[in-house]
């Protein structure tokens, strides 16, 4: 994507979010039973239900409800959680930060492991090392995260090792050490899958570059291999890898739902599971939209990163 196309990309991103918001709204309203029944239970009197519906605005026509919700979200008013009886905004903000901490630490760890290994595997293509790295990545990709999470808990969170807490969360401000300790296992679980994927991407990107004509030119200029790799190959290979990384942030949002649930980590994933289980419809809608926004933003960042790193796109 050339940088000149950025406004168009942003526009498309906003369009997808608008469509997503409609889908979310329609889906939640197709669910049997509305928020009022969810709150008061099946045995509530019709009069009580009607009163609550009026208070929640559920008696208004659907388009109006939708406009009300979306208008609120756009102006920073996320409505009120029907089960917690609190404004949804602050709850979501706190959980959002927790999830982002998890995602960003994961991405950082995955990149730190995967990029060097992927590059080495490509440079030593066909060697034992390459074989080992590739096999490991296959294994990493094929273990589902709902298996990996419990396995990690069994290995590291229960005696005899009991190195890390198996679940829960401590705020960074309260205890940085506690915060880190609670992050280790969920990050480890997420990192395994991501690393495997990223490593393979890096390896194949680097292989393409190593087989390119310009790397041949660099070698046949008499540059030593070290310079060929550092100056000519890496620069081009990393551009695509970084873009993949940004995309992975979006992909991570999916895994996070499962991992947070397993480790009882208070993030967006856990929040949406709670909201769905308890029919807290405003919360479901808000969290789904926030997760969608992260996804769209990650895609946009990927595009921008790619464009900035490739002079063909940055300077036509």
């Amino acid at each position: 994507m050339a940088l000149a196309l950025l406004p168009r990309r942003i526009f498309y991103g906003l369009v997808s979010l608008a469509i997503l918001s409609v889908i979310i709204f329609v889906c939640t309203h197709l669910l049997p039973g509305d928020a009022a029944t969810a709150i008061l239970g099946e045995g509530a009197t019709p009069a009580a239900l009607a009163a609550l519906r009026a208070r929640l605005g559920l008696d208004q026509p659907a388009p109006l409800q939708f406009a009300h919700w979306l208008g609120g979200v756009l102006t920073g008013d996320f409505g009120v959680s029907t089960t917690l009886n609190q404004p949804a905004g602050p709850i979501i903000a706190e959980r959002f930060l927790n999830s982002m901490a998890l995602a960003l630490v994961t991405i950082f760890c995955a990149a730190a492991i995967a990029i060097p290994l992927g590059v080495v595997a490509a440079v030593r293509r066909g060697s034992r090392l390459d074989g080992t790295i590739l096999t490991a990545s296959y294994v990493g990709i094929s273990i589902p995260d709902f298996v990996l999470g419990p396995v990690l808990i069994l290995l590291f969170a229960v005696p005899p090792l009991a190195l890390f807490p198996s679940s829960g969360f401590v705020a960074f401000a309260a205890s940085p050490a506690g915060w880190i300790a609670h992050l280790v296992l969920p990050v480890a679980a997420l990192t395994v899958v991501l690393t495997a994927h990223l490593m393979r991407q890096t390896r194949s990107g680097m292989l393409d570059v190593l087989n390119s004509d310009y790397v041949r030119t660099a070698r046949l200029k008499g540059l030593p291999e070290r310079l060929v790799l550092w100056r000519h190959a890496l620069r081009n290979a990393l551009g695509t890898t970084l873009a993949v990384l940004a995309l992975d942030l979006g992909y991570l949002m999916g895994s996070i739902v499962i991992i947070e649930e397993i480790f009882a980590y208070p993030g967006l994933g856990r929040l949406i599971v709670y909201a769905v289980a308890n029919r807290d419809i405003p919360l479901v809608e808000d969290v789904a939209l926030v997760i969608g926004t992260v996804y769209v933003a990650a895609n946009l960042v990927a595009d921008i990163a790619h464009a900035m790193l490739d002079p063909r796109l940055a300077r036509p």
């Binding site: 168009r8 310009y214 041949r216 070698r219 046949l220 200029k221 008499g222 620069r235 081009n236 002079p311």
Partner: protein, 616 residues
Amino acid sequence: MPEPLLEIDGLSISFRVGGRRMPALAEFSLAIHAGEVVGLVGESGSGKSTALFAVMNYLPENAVVERGSIRYRGIDLLSADRATLDGLRGRRLAMVYQDPGTALNPAIIAGDQIAEVLRRHLGFDEAGARQRTKELLRLVEIEDPDRVYRSYPHQLSGGMRQRVMIAMALSCEPDLLLMDEPTTALDVIVQAHVLDLVRSLQRKLRSAILFVSHNLGAVAAIAHRIGVLYAGELMELGPAVRILGKSRNPYTLGLLAAVPRIAGREAVQGIPGAASRDPQRFGRCVFAERCPSAEAICLAERPRLLAVPPDAAQRSRCHFANDPKIDRAWSQGAAAPTPSAQPRSAGADLLLEVAGLSVEYRQGFRLFARPALRALRNVSFRLPRERVLAIVGESGSGKSTLARAILRLEPGASGRVLFEGADVFALDAAGLRRFRRKAQIVFQNPTSSLNPQRSVFELVARPLALAAVPRREQRDRVRAVLAAVGLGDLYLDRYPRQLSGGEKQRVALARAFVTEPLLVILDEPTTALDVSVQAAVLELLAKEKERLRCAYLFISHDLAVVRQIADEVLVLRHGTVQESGPIEPLFEAPANAYTRALIAAVPSFSTDRATGGSPR
């Protein structure tokens, strides 16, 4: 004689392919002396690149050097270690590649890629290297070295990039410059400029050059000596004038006869068949099965490189190198197709009329649309029946857009296209189907235009099936048309991957001809083919035109080819018509400056120079 600079001695190379060894080069020997320009010509697969990259000791991983050595000033390059090679590469032996678009690093500015070589080999510091790089850019006739220095490769034109490559290769004043098809990826006019530049730089710097190309014209323009490769075998080697004018090898002679000449309409003659890939071929003459002079001995014994009188400077690998019979071998070929003799378009026999045709490309969707790009502006011409109109121009001139617009495949087209008097843009669905049956198109690249999942029969029968021709009749007509394009029944059940490039293009032509069209649009139909195959396809086109009495719209960037086949020419540039008219006057006395430049740019050579002198 002084020691040669580079000595390739008995080099045999094969490739491991699926457990087998496929030989690619057989006992290839060549010596290059300081300051000498040696050209190596050969068709695709003849082993040119293999020989060239072997000198750099940079062969593909599956290559095996079976025998032989390559010595540069006494250093055995094939057994040298990486450190030794790094010291020679770029410093003593430098290379220029076919595609400067991919050979330069897209992420580094052009100047730094040259400066890097100076710093690596000549110990320049950063500022000194920058300074010297700009001088080098000036040396390759780049007028604004500062801008080019700072440009990324994609910001430069193809010709500029190749100049940058040449500056890079010459930066350390190497003893030997290896050039791998350095002009092939460039437009005609740029090609000529780059050739001129290389020639003048060579005189100035006195580097030796090994110039590899499939283009005999380009090689003839620059080489002192020429080697001719065929199927991995060096067929002939000698001073350029003798190879071009007094060849003693049937393959070289066949190749010379196949090259179309810009100077006039002469018989181009194809060499029947395709190069042998048989791994056992080096036990005999590799050219035997295509050679008109072959005898029993040619299939039984590998010919040696025989010296050709008066001296051993010229040597030919042919049992009959010194037998006069090979001179007559190719003489009973086809006569040159003459321009059609009918009087010019009387209204009645007009087939296609194009009036004020323009094509605009809209970029993007309406919302953020950028200004429309005009790919074609106001093009008009008339094509009578049974005539050939050539559309010539460089890449991006709008040739293919024109072809697509005529077939109503360009949504942004405006203007008028009349086919047999009917407005093509106004046809209804049924009319359009009928029109597309009568007007066929053949593309440049047969590999991408033929569906690999379909057999030859299915491919060729497809237009008939679409026209609801009964199955029985389909079979007969496909057979007939395949025979007409020189493919027998044997080919009916083959798939594209089992065909050579020339055979694929014949299938594509058969598919176009099977509906007996009145108009065939040929979009660079021979560009992807080897010269000898190209000549055969041109012969075929001339024959089919006679048989079907159809007209051709022949799109090409190659003026020499155009000269062989067209009755009229239309020169396009940036989507506008520069000049048009009957072929002879236009080629003899072009009125337009651009046309003149195009014609002058075609490397030409004559085969009948009796005496030496510097080439061209």
